[in-house]
Subunit: 109 residues, 4 copies
């Protein structure tokens, strides 16, 4: 198993990670910053796991599945939190997290 077997999951992880990073920095510019604290925190956590999962899949690690299981849980929590906010970056991030969670669940199965 390698990059090409995992490609759709890797792509979902990388898109999710980049949108989490973008969401975190964009939240810092919002007027209602107090409400965005948990969103920023989860964005940082989620980006970390998504990037690690993409890397383990890309190099064909036997532990990629186990990490994708963790990553899916994280993405679900991040998607839920981002989904509470109306900012465009939060909505995009919430969608990307949801898609990533689905791919990671399948990959881990």
């Amino acid at each position: 198993m390698n990059y090409h077997d995992y490609k759709s999951c890797i792509d979902a992880c990388l898109r999710c990670a980049a949108l989490c990073d973008h969401c975190a920095s964009s939240c810092l510019q919002e007027e209602n910053l107090e409400n965005m604290k948990r969103c920023i925190q989860l964005d940082m956590e989620c980006a970390t796991l998504c990037y690690a999962a993409a890397r383990l899949m890309s190099i064909g690690s036997e532990q990629a599945g186990a990490l994708c299981r963790l990553c899916a849980e994280m993405c679900e929590r991040c998607s839920e939190e981002c989904g509470k906010h109306a900012h465009e970056h939060c909505k995009e991030c919430s969608e990307a997290c949801k898609t990533c969670a689905e791919h990671c669940r399948k990959m881990a199965a």
Copy 2:
């Protein structure tokens, strides 16, 4: 400037990084391993810079341009080395590095 302004360059960096990781681990399985040493080394270096560049762009850092300049140089060297080998993963990686270098050059300008 943020994720959306940089999206094509971020996408090129992420694709390049994942294919560098894939190329490194795939090279380890090749029969002519002695010939692949420099390819593996540059793949590891290039993945590191591409991921860092994607992250600085995603969070809208003022230093993203300077890092993209470095990343472009790395991608050019990695593309050249990978381009010497006939393995499919090397050819894909060489192409992805070349495309990434072009995006990073434009972004840094």
Copy 3:
């Protein structure tokens, strides 16, 4: 729980990650390269998980423990493989992986 509560485990992860990276690139220079393939592969995997674990602990993620459990398993496998080789970088890396696994096991408990 934050950086200071996890400091000894974070330090062990970061030391292990850096020595895995060092071991991977050093293995590429060894004469018996064919024998070092699995070592290089596991070094790359282990560095990825150790860095991710250190980051989740540093930002106080609720999923840090679960990732440390995975990281411990990876470190044990990498330690065992590195421990088969007499190169100084392999021995250092094997020791660092073993120490990191112990810290991660405790942290995950």
Copy 4:
């Protein structure tokens, strides 16, 4: 040149990166969150560059010096911003950034 030649600079980068991550998440818990926006942003940027610099040094990349030059600039800006705040995590981070900048300047020279 490899890990051992760069060890003090790698250690400074890794300590700085972990304290930047810690500072970012700790800032999110502070009462005066509006004042901490730039600190959180620079912490995220600085952690990214410090981790990348540590990795390029650990694998002995020829581009490690150029990245350390960028990293030093980033650390100086992050140190200055963190130094404006009285929170313990900001003071620790500011000191770690300053030390890291010094090591990276020397390494890049």
